[in-house]
Symmetry: C2
Subunit: 348 residues, 2 copies
């Protein structure tokens, strides 16, 4: 066997190593650090290649590649979405990601991204809320208690000082699961039996449900002034969570308007409905919360730059640890023109 050179080996973070890394760093510190990397990248938003995602649709789902680059590094995420998978004991969404060096084109990181995406989505939500939610918000309603819910709750605790989460799901078993998972954390957890009960006293409302059709998780009369809505469940054409009347009363903040107008809550609104790009709030070019009475809405669909930030973070964070394996993925002949000779010499 020929020994591959150093650069031919790509560091790989398995699911097992991702979980080890999370416990090594701690979930809340990691959510804070991830938010820091995302914030950094949103501050240099204009630098990025903003290619739309490349989607391959079938009757039962979609497979997408989400590439982007800051001119130094290049990253992409592979992600599928197959709602019928759960009935077969499989995940609706699985993901992995790759980071490469733009200067050489060599990959420098391959990593699981199912868990990492849950972490970066939660970090993104809480980062947006830090710019948009009322400063004194301590209570959050968490509507939709699926795979993302605990990560959201902990991110709002770690980054925004939320102390109480009020949980609601159409399936009480999901609420019980989330309550059980959060029982040992610093959060006060209040399981609720209706969305109306969940939003009582909440200054932040997070909606994260998996409904496919135009659903109305929040109706207009449920949303009072001064509230921040973090809407992450509406993320593809035909999938929304909020009544249009709420959108009309809200100041709407988005990641990338071109994508959000197709995939987000605002797909229900005219194409010229005013929105503010979050990166401009983060750089100070645009206003976030106008006043204490405004309803702010982060209409989040997930954008490639957030995955890029997460990949950068993992690349930096695994340095000096044993939480990755070197993968012999790149052929590396001594003489670049002699690929055939390398293959021949491997013959035993």
């Amino acid at each position: 066997m020929t020994q591959p050179s150093h650069k031919a080996l790509v560091p790989f973070v398995s699911v097992d190593n991702m979980m080890r890394l999370i416990h090594h760093i701690g979930i809340e510190p990691m959510l804070r650090e991830l938010a820091g990397y995302i914030e950094e990248d949103f501050k240099r938003w204009e630098l990025f290649d903003k290619t739309p995602r490349v989607a391959s649709h079938s009757d039962v789902g979609v497979i997408e590649l989400m590439p982007t680059s800051d001119g130094e590094a290049y990253g992409f995420k592979y992600v599928n979405g197959h709602p019928k998978n759960t009935r077969e004991g499989l995940q609706t969404v699985t993901a992995f990601g790759l980071l490469a060096d733009v200067h050489t084109g060599y990959p420098v990181l391959l990593t699981e991204m199912t868990i990492l995406t849950a972490m970066r989505t939660a970090a993104m939500s809480a980062l947006a809320a830090r710019y948009l939610a009322p400063r004194d918000a301590r209570v959050m309603a968490m509507i939709g208690n699926g795979a993302q819910s605990e990560f959201q709750c902990l991110a709002f605790h770690a980054l925004c000082g939320v102390e109480t989460v009020r949980l609601y799901d159409t399936d009480p078993a999901a609420t019980a699961k989330t309550a059980r998972n959060l029982a040992k954390t610093a959060l006060s957890v209040v399981p609720c039996t209706s969305p109306e009960e969940a939003i009582e006293g909440a200054q932040i409302i997070t909606t994260c449900t998996a409904d496919k059709q135009y659903a109305t998780i929040l109706t207009d009369n449920m949303v009072g002034s001064g509230v921040h809505i973090n809407a992450i469940g509406g993320d593809c054409p035909g999938k929304t969570e909020l009544a249009p009347a709420i959108l009309k009363r809200s100041d709407i903040f988005v990641e990338y308007p071109e994508q959000t107008r197709i995939e987000g809550e605002i797909q229900q609104m005219p194409a010229d409905h005013p929105v503010t790009e979050l990166w401009q709030v983060i750089t100070g070019q645009a206003k976030g919360r106008r006043d204490a009475r405004a309803i702010t809405l982060f209409d989040s669909v997930g954008f490639a730059i957030e995955d890029f930030s997460a990949l950068r973070y993992i690349r930096d964070r695994i340095k000096g640890t044993d939480m990755f394996e070197p993968l012999d993925m790149l052929a590396d002949p001594d003489d670049p023109r002699d690929l055939f000779g390398m293959v021949q010499r491997a013959k035993v």
Copy 2:
């Protein structure tokens, strides 16, 4: 540590295992089998998603994703192109690929593709020649003796009955390298000191040089009637190998006109210059070689479907072997809604 389920483990073929697989099967049998898979996919050409490649350009190179799907499987290749890399002891091109199940969105194969791409490119060239070259062709000129050259020569031996290869490169050391590598094969090898000498008596001319600007490896007077030209070096905007006068005299066959008009030799011709799609020749819908005097030209740039065929082939061929490793790449909680619980339980 939580044990990942069967489907969460993605078979990975490393560079080392790809070389083992090649020697296990034999290079020439593998080239023939690969050509068979490509031929099968060209026969069902219309079934495929034909997304253009997604390229990210920088000053020094390009990183591309080439996805496609036949409705059952989905594949993509990551490939970079950095000509300056060789000066730094790195590969100009590295590649890896992934195959996934369209029905579940789960990846089913991750593999190195630097070596595999060399194999599939050679198989593609020889497959095209079987439909286009004179039947009695036994002598091939191989102009450009880089990393691809030995694979080309062996594929034309295995698939087209070529017995003699006449080698030429501007760098005599490259020719010596290719001659040395082919010395132990069944081919007669004739090193030449000029392109004119190399094409003497050759019924097939393969050009595979790495020149970046519009180069003229073959001039008009060098190409006689009845010859088949296999032009694989012109594969990006600004990179061509043939004099336009040759193109005017040739029947031109291409993989995918939309891509070849941008990247191939025919970028030198008007946008409506007539070409024939190779898949139509393979299915019998279009004529290949008209007569013994025609000059046929396969203006090859490499298309995603060829990589897809190669990925399908490797997936089938590693079954029952130990030439892959299971990669713990997909998070797989017992309860799909309980990703957080899975992460928590991994805490030691």
